[in-house]
């Protein structure tokens, strides 16, 4: 009886009053959010920003979500899948976390996916691995940020239809995240009349991009780069050293020209177009407050890694309100997370599709000088972008996942 009523009244007063009766006994206890991030080693840059974004979000709410105190438990995965699993167990079994947010990297998220599903722990992810919300979707997992290709699809559409580019070279880190972005870019670009004529794959730990940059064809309309971490910064620098900067336009995926590396890249960044589900320049009261807070506390503009947890936390907060603060009924909480439309996260409105992937705005951003600093100015907004782009979900999922070799590049010129 309870269940059917809850099914009917998905949100609002009904569920609220119902939940009030069950959770009263524990209402004085804080909600425990387990936060998986990387604080040591080479991946720590993004991991530290994740923590900053999360801490700021909670601080601005007086460490309360939906009227209940929050205890944030931060665990350092050290960027190792084995440690990530141990830390997830620690958060769930020892610290009795109610929900998990994180971790940073795809291989970390995949290392704990089965565990969090088996434990029925609501997990709000940041890592982009496509299949986590597609062919291996879990009822206990959602991602308020984006799948690898979600923003690359959008960039490709913009490049083909607005910029009228015909021939593009794609370059990206030679691992799953780079493969998935470039594959998504290629598919949408070619379906809209463009051609990917060259693909380059530098290894993730390439000491230098000179070898690859000097292979870029001189007769392409643009280069699309899908780098992560500091690689976008290193690539762009070298691109200018080799005299290509300003000659062949640079396009990028969601982490290629992140706010975290924008100032360091300096004038070389100006003019680079990237697609992302977030921009520190996105004009909304929530985001303005968030950016001001990051500036005040950490002296930086938030980017992908800081904004991700802020989106996830806003999704969690909305769901907490829906279930009236009763975090112990995990099934109800998860249902609220998946069915709510959250209107005002720092990235704009967010809702989830059946796979648990956020559907929301994707911004085309151009790096521009604004006073003494460089910002990713929003030049076009694509609303309601799905991880499947405009392809039917069934057809999309029936195909193999995006990879280095799928979809097949028919127009390569070598």
């Amino acid at each position: 009886m309870t269940l059917s009523r809850r099914g009917l009244l998905q949100t609002g007063i009904g569920a609220f009053s119902l939940a009030m009766t069950t959770h009263k006994a524990r209402a004085d206890e804080p909600i425990r959010i387990g936060f998986l991030t990387v604080k040591t080693g080479p991946l720590a840059a993004g991991g530290i920003q994740m923590e900053q974004g999360m801490v700021l979000f909670l601080k601005e709410r007086g460490n309360k979500l939906a009227g209940r105190d929050v205890k944030l438990i931060v665990a350092d995965t050290a960027g190792s899948p084995a440690t990530t699993r141990t830390k997830a167990q620690e958060l769930v079994e020892r610290d009795k976390a109610h929900v998990l947010i994180g971790p940073l990297a795809a291989f970390e998220a995949l290392a704990i996916a089965d565990y969090t599903t088996a434990q029925k722990i609501p997990t709000l992810g940041v890592a982009a691995a496509e299949d986590m919300t597609q062919r291996m979707a879990s009822p206990w997992f959602v991602r308020g940020t984006a799948s690898s290709a979600q923003c690359a699809h959008t960039m490709a559409f913009y490049a083909a239809t607005e910029l009228k580019y015909k021939r593009i070279c794609v370059i990206g880190d030679d691992f799953a995240y780079g493969h998935e972005q470039n594959a998504g870019f290629q598919r949408v670009f070619e379906d809209n009349g463009g051609r990917v004529v060259q693909k380059l794959w530098p290894p993730l730990n390439a000491p230098d991009y000179g070898t690859y940059i000097s292979q870029i064809k001189s007769n392409v309309d643009a280069v699309f780069m899908s780098f992560a971490g500091s690689n976008g910064f290193k690539f762009t620098k070298a691109y200018f050293e080799y005299g290509l900067g300003g000659k062949i336009p640079l396009l990028g995926g969601m982490t290629a020209m992140d706010e975290a590396i924008l100032q360091q890249t300096g004038d070389d960044a100006v003019g680079v177009l990237t697609a992302n589900w977030y921009s520190a320049q996105y004009d909304s009261p929530e985001n303005k407050a968030f950016v001001a807070g990051m500036q005040r506390d950490y002296k930086v503009d938030p980017g992908y890694y800081a904004a991700g947890p802020a989106v996830e936390a806003a999704v969690l907060e909305a769901a907490m309100k829906t279930v009236g603060g009763d975090i112990d009924d995990r099934a109800a909480l998860m249902k609220a997370i998946r069915t709510n439309l959250v209107p005002n996260t720092v990235r704009g409105p967010v809702r989830f599709d059946a796979g648990g992937q956020a559907v929301g705005n994707v911004y085309i951003r151009r790096a521009e000088k604004k006073g003494s600093k460089i910002v990713n100015a929003v030049i076009k907004t694509y609303p309601d972008v799905s991880q499947y782009w405009t392809y039917p979900e069934k057809e999309f999922l029936a195909q193999p996942p995006y990879s280095r070799d799928f979809p097949v590049a028919r127009y390569l010129e070598n």
Partner: protein
């Protein structure tokens, strides 16, 4: 044709960078028999020092010198306090130097945060040079020249000066050198200073290409090992030739066989070591 010229230049430039990275490692290993696994971390520390100094508007070459001196002093302390007592205990040296590398990496993360820090080359060296109609970054040629000059200076120091003769004597037979009045432990400090100094300077000179970022240490250490092994342990000309060969293998390998980019350095190295375990110029490895 253009492909071969540009990739050839890329290879040479990278070889120069690799020599700056590995000269100090080769020196310390060859002369003192200490496998200094903190070398990558010292190189990274040099790059961070350089980035910090350049941020304060210090002249580029002065910043390189100051960073080298700073890292060199750290090397001296490392040798005097920790490594001197472990002479001959190779496993202990591995443990200590890796421990120091962990600490340096963690301190850099704490001090400078995780975001990459750029090191700008001097403005006059930045513009691309046009060779036969295509652009090549001028600074990379400067790095190559700097590496060659460093190699020459080091060779002169070791082979043509009194200090160099004393160092070689101390290395060949420690007790004998001591008995003829050569201050061996001070000499060893000097060698360690020089090795660490080279790492620090290399970090700054290589900075405009590599920049300073967490993980630079772990990216660089295997490269230094490859160079030194390929060229032969403790041989300065070997380190130079090894650097250039690694530059060639890396650039042409990853351009011609893109599918093997991840193993393009180590697969040839396995083959070479299996065929000639002493390296190209090395003595027997013990």
């Amino acid at each position: 044709m253009q492909f071969w010229i540009v990739q050839g230049l890329n290879s040479l430039a990278m070889g120069g960078l690799l020599f700056l990275l590995s000269a100090g490692f080769s020196l310390i290993f060859g002369l003192l028999r200490i496998p200094n696994l903190a070398h990558g971390a010292l190189f990274m520390l040099g790059a961070y020092f350089g980035a910090a100094l350049l941020g304060e508007q210090v002249n580029f070459w002065l910043a390189a010198l100051l960073s080298g001196a700073g890292v060199g002093m750290i090397g001296v302390v490392l040798e005097a306090v920790l490594l001197r007592r472990l002479a001959g205990n190779e496993q202990g040296q591995v443990l200590v130097t890796l421990g120091v590398a962990f600490i340096i990496a963690d301190i850099c993360l704490l001090a400078w945060g995780g975001d990459p820090m750029p090191l700008g080359a001097p403005r006059s060296l930045r513009p691309p040079v046009f060779i036969a109609g295509f652009a090549f970054p001028g600074y990379r040629l400067v790095v190559l020249g700097f590496a060659l000059a460093t190699a020459l200076l080091l060779w002169l120091l070791l082979e043509r000066t009194r200090l160099g003769a004393m160092i070689r004597a101390g290395v060949d037979d420690r007790e004998m050198a001591r008995s003829v009045g050569i201050p061996v432990s001070r000499l060893f400090s000097a060698v360690f200073f020089l090795g660490a100094f080279l790492a620090g300077v290399g970090g700054v000179i290589g900075g405009p290409i590599l920049s300073a970022y967490p993980g630079l240490d772990a990216d660089m250490l295997p490269l230094a090992l490859v160079v030194v092994i390929l060229g032969g342990v403790g041989s300065l000309p070997g380190a130079l030739v090894g650097s250039l060969i690694v530059g060639l293998i890396y650039n042409f390998g990853s351009a011609l066989f893109p599918d093997f980019a991840y193993v393009v350095l180590f697969l040839p190295m396995v083959v070479m070591l299996v065929v000639k375990p002493t390296g190209l110029f090395g003595r027997v490895l013990r």
